[in-house]
Amino acid sequence: MALREDALYASYRRLEKPLFNVLYRQLWHVEDCQDVIHDAYVRVWERRGKVDEATLDALVWTTALNLAKNRLRWRVLRRHDVVDENLPQLMGDAQPMDFLATRRLHEALRQLPHAWRQVLLLSEFSGMRGNEIAGVLGIPAGTVASRKHLAMVRLKALMGVSGNE
């Protein structure tokens, strides 16, 4: 069952925004995010003969997250730290207050362990359920739940938000 071109484009339209939102909060660089999304789809297309359309989105998520991980590893090896805050451009019509809050959130997110942050972002943006996220990341569903919980607790602490809010 080969992957059709229109199914690939449909998946791109569906996932571009969620992928970008997750990847940007890991890579912090707009062009890197665009390249990772593009490369993930190209790789999937190159293996189109073996790709089942039913699992296409999950495959794209896994491929994109792996490519992002490689890019982060490359940066660590070359001590290449990227801080790209094109936020006003990315947030479109958002208010200045939103911009400042988002910037604070991004600073807090940077302080979370990578694995926790990844689970939190996938839960927020991917639209996948816990067991689907577990499948994409190759970890047990229970680990997804616990990492998400821990990430939220730490994020709230970093943002100065009390647990009752």
């Binding site: 071109e5 690939l8 484009y9 791109y12 339209r13 571009e16 925004k17 970008f20 939102n21 940007y24 707009v30 995010c33 665009q34 999304i37 593009h38 789809y41 190209v42 297309w45 936020l87 451009q89 990315l90 947030m91 479109g92 958002a94 939103d98 809050a101 988002t102 959130l105 939190l120 839960s123 927020e124 943006f125 939220m152 994020l155 943002m159």
Partner: protein
């Protein structure tokens, strides 16, 4: 709605991603070009490594040859304060006595068979 939704703002990816993907899929030339460049770079790297591994050997052999040639020259050169041989060569041999010099003299002229060279006391 997720508990974390209160924090996150949706970011908008820059436009043009789908067109870029469409171009790459229909004109994978760029990718082939990248592969070609990679091949050329690999060929250069292999050639460089080969050269780097061969050059020291060549230099070493050249030095050894030069040493051998100079040793041969030294061997056939007339010894200082020794005898001078015209149309031939002489090699001083250890004599064992302070007042005796022993030379092996070889003439360049045709030597009849059975007479290869002679040691003479001078």
């Amino acid at each position: 709605m997720n508990e974390s939704s209160q924090f996150f703002t949706d970011l908008r990816p820059p436009a043009g991603g789908l067109q870029r993907l469409h171009r790459t899929i229909h004109h994978p030339k760029g990718r082939a070009h990248r592969t070609g460049r990679l091949l050329v770079a690999s060929a250069f790297a292999v050639a460089f490594l080969l050269l780097a591994s061969l050059v020291p050997g060549i230099v070493m052999r050249h030095r050894q040859t030069a040493k051998l040639v100079s040793a041969m020259h030294a061997a056939v050169a007339p010894p200082a304060n020794g005898i001078e041989v015209v149309d031939g060569a002489a090699l001083e041999l250890p004599s064992g006595q302070a007042n005796v010099r022993l030379y092996l003299v070889q003439s360049n002229a045709a030597v009849p068979s059975g007479q290869n060279g002679s040691a003479e006391r001078l």
